[in-house]
Symmetry: C2
Subunit: 885 residues, 2 copies
């Protein structure tokens, strides 16, 4: 029913969180370690549960309560209720799971009108004693009797006003004595009784109040939101009060066992003499760095150093501990794993492993892979003044400054003179060249997986999307937000970590991959089973990916290659072609470009596999929009323009209308293009195999994997594979070399997943395109789901955005089915993922679990993927869980 803590008498330990709550268990653990914890005892959660259920304390409570109180008196050598040598205690709640600020605390229990005088005498500090008494009355009145804090506080304010002082600490002992009288009156007015003078009654009622607070509305709401069961109950900790404000030989502070900003191994923290914790918060005096204690109080410093060492060795992680010095005696009040910067987290983990404090595996498991990205992108200089004018969604990490441009062409033009940021309501494939030319992208529409967001992440461009406060006026060439107007050419800064948009240039810090991060990733590579590849469409992307540790390309999209300005005329010719011959002619013009693209990419990835997806692009995306054309024709008519020119526009409009689709996402794209226009697949297969042959002749090893997109039926694959095989044979014969290549499918249509056994008979690999698979499995268009996803999140209908983290229950189940069925008919089937989820740690863990062979992510997320893959393997092996960092 109760457990003592303090020195050798300690009965509990850290393993007893169920019974003692997190706080009680940790106090016991520290006491057992020999740390100077102010002694006390914990009343278990059982008692709380009993009380909540029965409305009274259990039989035998009273006896045990007295027994423990006596024991506490013995250990402290003080006496509860004895004015000569008073024991003062606090009562604090502490449940199994931390519920910060949700439940109640009462300090200074054990004071009354008599004892306060004794305390004043004992400490020689009357002011201190009455201040403590005043606080007790207020806290007890508030927590136990439900009196509004303000009913007390207003008198304090009045008093300060009357005395003409600003801070509580400026009130005299006499002022506080007067205030105690006023507080007792307030107490009686609200409760009809006198403030209880019996210390034991105070304590008993405080404990009951703590138990009752388990079911206060705040706590209930908190538990519901954090999925904490309602029937756990809280423990109540009765602990001896210690005071840091008893003179110059007293004080309070916070210590870190290592530097939480840099990870350096040094005792770090702050100390404030003659103060209590709340004084630090109030900021009246500036605390000193702990390092200064080395000179000013070497004994204390040494004590703290030893405590730090003990704590770190015991908890095997950097600790953030609170302490108080009462008249020269050090007390440790609390310890917990320290929050730290991503930079520090990596250094600490690697250092600790090198010191032998933790294993490499643990080091790997301790780092949140998401934080790795943060180490690899420029960030806003923390010392810079930041004044955001608007905030959008942080779509692609990194902070950059550039001049505002409003169109892709402009971006290309203006970028020659310096960095530009492309600002658009939304982007489309027409803007690719402009996005490439810009250092960052900012849109007022779209979500985390809008075109801008996806492309920017792929390119590694910082990007903020859906910044709806911005009014982008393309005609006037300005952005309006609130009363601010930003003209074309003006500098802005966007922060892809936070979604913030700032006017002007805000200084940033450059990224680095070296030192401990390099070590950590090397370790990760030792443990992971999953291969890590990159989604890369250009030789530059490929090079970068390889630098970051990619073991191949998992997705090389070929459609971006078509968007190069110099190729657009040929692409248009291809689209307008009315016969296969015309189309072939246009394709011949694109052919050489394509082959060179592949040649360069293969060269960068020498010796590693490169998965190339055949064309997956609705042709109409190259053409002007139907409505733009219609409006233009209307305008031409209104202006009375040449009839011939109008007719020409109308011809174009007709073609656009022919290609128009109600749901382009589910339209004429993917392998459907290659099937209806086989000459496109022919051209691409030729370009791929010929590039490979050329390199082979140069003595280089090339491993092309040709991937057919949007396959729903095995016959689609058969059709395309036949073309690829035929062309490949031809080309290899022409060049007189043999290339090892394979043909597989992108599994992104639900039907492909459930018929995977049939498809796998024809496929050498599966690569899950989880972006589209998510769209089709949910029936969510990622261009449109912004219309309802916010409500879905708010109503908790979806636990998270399925385009960010793989929906394991549904989409993942389709993947699991596909892997199982695919391998059943083709045991050699290679499987991977190339959707956006390939760079998401939780999704990577799932991919590991269902037995994929590799994940493929954008180049910038390769380090994330390496780490996450290692963690997935280690979690599976050891069942250990990463600590929160």
């Amino acid at each position: 029913m109760m457990y003592f803590f303090g020195g050798d008498e300690t009965e509990g330990d850290a393993g007893m969180r169920d019974l003692l709550g997190g706080k009680g268990a940790n106090l016991a653990e520290m006491a057992k370690l020999g740390l100077p914890v102010p002694p006390g005892f914990t009343i278990t959660t059982e008692v709380c549960r009993y009380f909540v259920k029965n409305g009274k304390l259990p039989d035998g409570f009273e006896e045990e309560f007295r027994k423990y109180l006596r024991k506490l008196e013995e250990v402290t050598g003080k006496k509860f209720g004895d004015p000569k040598n008073p024991l003062l205690v606090s009562v604090r709640s502490g449940a199994k799971f931390s519920m910060p600020g949700m439940m109640d605390t009462i300090l200074n229990i054990g004071l009354n009108d008599e004892i306060v005088k004794g305390l004043a005498e004992l400490t020689g500090n009357e002011r201190f004693a009455y201040d403590a008494y005043r606080r007790l009355i207020q806290m007890f009145g508030n927590v136990v009797m439900g009196i509004d804090k303000n009913e007390f506080e207003k008198h304090l304010e009045e008093m300060k006003k009357k005395r003409g002082v600003a801070f509580d600490s400026e009130l005299t002992a006499e002022d506080l004595k007067e205030l105690v009288e006023i507080y007792k009156r307030v107490y009686k007015e609200h409760t009809g009784e006198d403030f209880p003078q019996d210390p034991e009654e105070q304590l008993r009622r405080a404990v009951i109040a703590v138990f009752k607070s388990w079911n206060n509305p705040r706590a209930i709401t908190y538990r519901r939101l954090n999925k904490i069961p309602d029937d756990l109950g809280t423990a109540a900790n009765v602990q001896t009060m210690v005071f840091g404000n008893l003179g110059e030989d007293s004080g309070t502070g916070v210590g870190f066992t290592r530097n939480p900003a840099t990870g350096e191994k040094e005792l770090y923290g702050e100390y404030l003499t003659n103060a209590q914790g709340e004084d630090v918060v109030a900021g009246i005096r500036t605390p000193m760095p702990i390092s200064k204690l080395k000179e000013e109080n070497p004994k204390l410093y040494e004590e703290l150093r030893k405590v730090a060492e003990l704590l770190e060795r015991h908890y095997r992680d950097v600790q953030d501990f609170e302490f108080t010095v009462e008249r020269g005696k050090l007390y440790i009040l609390q310890t917990r794993d320290a929050k730290r910067t991503p930079l520090a987290a990596v250094k600490i983990a690697v250092d600790m492993a090198n010191e032998g404090l933790i294993s490499k595996e643990e080091a790997i498991l301790r780092i949140d892979p998401e934080n790795v990205v943060k180490l690899l992108q420029p960030v806003i200089d923390p010392s810079a003044k930041v004044d955001p004018i608007a905030r959008g969604l942080p779509a692609s990490p990194g902070a950059v400054s550039g001049r505002v441009v409003f169109s892709a062409d402009e971006a290309v033009e203006k970028s020659k003179e310096g960095p530009v940021i492309l600002v658009r309501p939304e982007t489309s494939p027409d803007d690719i060249h402009g996005m490439h030319a810009s250092v960052g992208i900012l849109t007022s529409r779209g979500g985390m997986t809008s075109h801008a967001a996806v492309v920017a992440r792929g390119m590694g461009r910082p990007c903020v999307v859906g910044c709806e406060e911005l009014q982008i006026d393309e005609e006037r060439r300005e952005i309006r937000v609130k009363d601010i107007v930003i003209k074309e050419g003006e500098w802005i800064t966007i922060d892809g970590y936070t979604g913030n948009v700032m006017v002007g240039k805000v200084p940033t810090i450059e990224p680095q991959i070296k030192g401990e991060l390099e070590t950590l990733l090397r370790w990760a590579d030792e443990f992971r089973r999953l291969g890590v590849r990159a989604n890369a469409d250009t030789p530059e992307d490929a090079r970068r990916a390889r630098e970051f540790g990619a073991e191949g390309i998992g997705l090389c999209r070929t459609e971006h290659m078509f968007f190069h300005p110099s190729r657009i005329p040929s692409v248009l010719k291809m689209i307008m072609a009315e016969t296969p011959e015309e189309r072939r002619e246009a394709l011949a013009e694109i052919y050489e470009y394509q082959r060179n693209d592949f040649y360069e990419i293969f060269r960068e990835m020498e010796g590693l596999p490169v998965t190339i997806r055949t064309l997956d692009m609705p042709l109409h995306e190259f053409l002007p929009k139907r409505e733009e054309l219609r409006v233009e024709i209307e305008r031409m008519r209104a202006r009375g323009e040449d009839e011939e020119k109008i007719k020409e526009k109308e011809r174009l409009l007709r073609r656009v209308e022919e290609l128009y689709e109600f749901n382009p996402m589910l339209g004429h794209r993917g392998c459907r293009l290659g099937i209806t226009y086989p000459e496109i697949t022919e051209m691409q297969a030729r370009a791929i195999i010929e590039a490979a042959c050329m390199l082979k002749k140069e003595g280089k090893t090339v491993i092309p994997e040709i991937m057919i997109p949007l396959v729903s039926h095995v016959n689609e694959l058969k059709d395309q594979k036949e073309i690829v095989k035929r062309v490949a044979e031809e080309v290899m014969k022409e060049h007189g070399v043999e290339i090892e290549y394979s043909v597989g499918v992108m599994v992104e249509v639900p039907r492909a997943a459930v018929t995977a056994d049939r498809i796998a008979k024809e496929a050498e690999f599966f690569s899950f395109g989880t972006n589209d698979l998510t769209q089709m499995s949910f029936g969510f268009s990622r261009d449109d789901y912004g219309k309802f996803i916010e409500v879905y999140k708010e109503k908790k209908i979806l636990p998270e955005d399925p385009f960010t983290t793989l929906d394991q229950e549904g989409v993942g189940e389709l993947m699991r089915i596909a892997v199982e069925r695919g391998k059943s008919s083709n045991p050699n089937l290679k499987t991977g993922i190339c959707g956006e989820h390939g760079g998401d740690p939780r999704s990577i863990e799932f991919c590991h679990r269902i037995g994929l062979d590799y994940v493929s992510s954008s180049p910038y997320r390769i380090p994330v993927a390496r780490l996450a893959a290692a963690q997935a393997a280690l979690k599976k092996l050891e069942g250990t869980v990463r600590k929160d960092v």
Copy 2:
């Protein structure tokens, strides 16, 4: 190796198709029955297989061949090669599966320069003898030696020209003698050898030619297309020739054991005196009805009657048999199950069951359910002259005539004066009222599952879609096709069975459900396990469905109710609403309409379940199209219209843009509407339950089933169910009555299928929306798949259109998974299908197999579904297969 047929000597039977081929087996069967089959023998498929493999005939062939030839001589009393009493034979191929016209036949084998003279003498018909010889040389030359038929035919033509006659039959014996000489010369010129005079050599070489024809290119292609294995081989049938052209006591004819047009039980057919089969085809003389033989040749008539009776009793189905009378002796050459009209098929099946000839189960299994629809829709009068000007896709059955209108409003207006046909490039939900007002719908765009097609089928309106030859000029209000112009108000006729479009009124015949069809459907109801419900949105549909035998409504769509012209203003108000309160106000205006709709439908379906789907409609469908608005605004500007009016339009445009979706199919629809605008679901739940309460108070039983559409995650269902339950409780309390209602989901999103176990815990029923499930499983937009589906069909990538017949392998697999997982967590789960496939017989069979409880189809397909459901149950029970009818 060989099997004799003819009289008592017959060795084979119908069960030996593998060995004897279909033809050989059937000849043996008829001979065993005692029918006067011209005797002969069958050389088995084994011999063919041996020959194909080894390029020679097997050992022992020669001996057996001679043995069987001798036996044939014995049985016929004629002698092969004997000019005095010559035996002539034919050699015909005959594989296990019928391959009509794919392989070869040679007639009149056994003639040579000598024997022809004997034959002339014996028959007293020199012309006949030389004609037979001429044919032999041509057929042998062509089939055995590969000489182009034309090489012979051209001489025949020349001869006729020279003689100045039009028909072969007008040539004299002398002419034919001359032709025989010419043919022999042609033969020698092409082969370098003389036409073989040895009858046995002729026969042997003919047999080998038949075996070789198994691998001619035509046959190979046919087998590939019809999935017939290549290694079966063909049998060769050597059969005594009989001749119907040996004078007035000879003749040839075709008989049916019952009337194949009406199903009447009567000997039916045609007879031509002194003629061979091919003369009937040549159409020189008109054959007489067999019934006339009753007077003209009572003996023959009686013989035929007996044959017919025997055949029908033996084959247990109506037979279509060929016969020849040679000099007064009747020979039966062939029999097979007769083709018949749908009307006849039903009557025959029911009559035969009533006669005890077949069982009820067989009667049910014999009818193609698709044919039932044909009995229930007006058809073009077969006697009418039909001259189609264009042909589209037959989207909804029935033939109708009406005046052309070009808009929905016009349709409503003009339909008051008489029937109209709505002609549109494509239809949209805005056109519903006009489609309702029209007797038929014709579009120039869209496929079998376009909006027009689906809605028309649902309404039972004949419909032709995708008639691309039509140029619909809405401005000039005319249709142009080739050089024909059809103006507004002119009559046209469309035929939803064939897709034909005709100018003017073409007479039609009205449908009927009675007599044998009624009986058959009643029988079907005894055997089926699947329930049959209707998709019905209006009281009229509900009534019709009930008349056709529906046992409930499986899908009542509520969005059509919103499109009623009188409700549009309120609906617009709802859409433009900016707060829930405004929206609630607008909904209150619609409320009463909705409640009355439900009241009427419930009343029609008293005692039967009615599944009502909550709103599933993208709101923007009610608004004008974005581009129309933009063009309109441009025009208003050009005309210098009032700035205020333009601004108002622009406001509307803004709302339209807010609601604009890139992929509306995957957008803000289904339960996503009810979740983001809970007041819509509230209103609908209230309307449903209140209507039910009203009827309950009138003493009527109502069984509402509320269906939540487009559920992908169980939480969506939970959210909507909570609203429905809350509102239902309220309403029932207000009315003081209890309604038994249930809440379930429409399973139409792949994710719902794979997470069915989770969803079924909250759902009382699943109804598969296979239209959308097909769209999302394949990633095919049914509005857009026309762009590639034709190529897919051509290239055989898909075996059939998955929107017409359920894709069992993929979409069906998702359904199977959903049923399995759903029932695993909720054994009481009720399951059904309400997509278009619910009316497709093959899909219904699949639904039976995976254990659904019911199918739901459009009212007009209810009889189809009843029959198909019975067949599914019977096939499962008995493993019997429906005969082709």
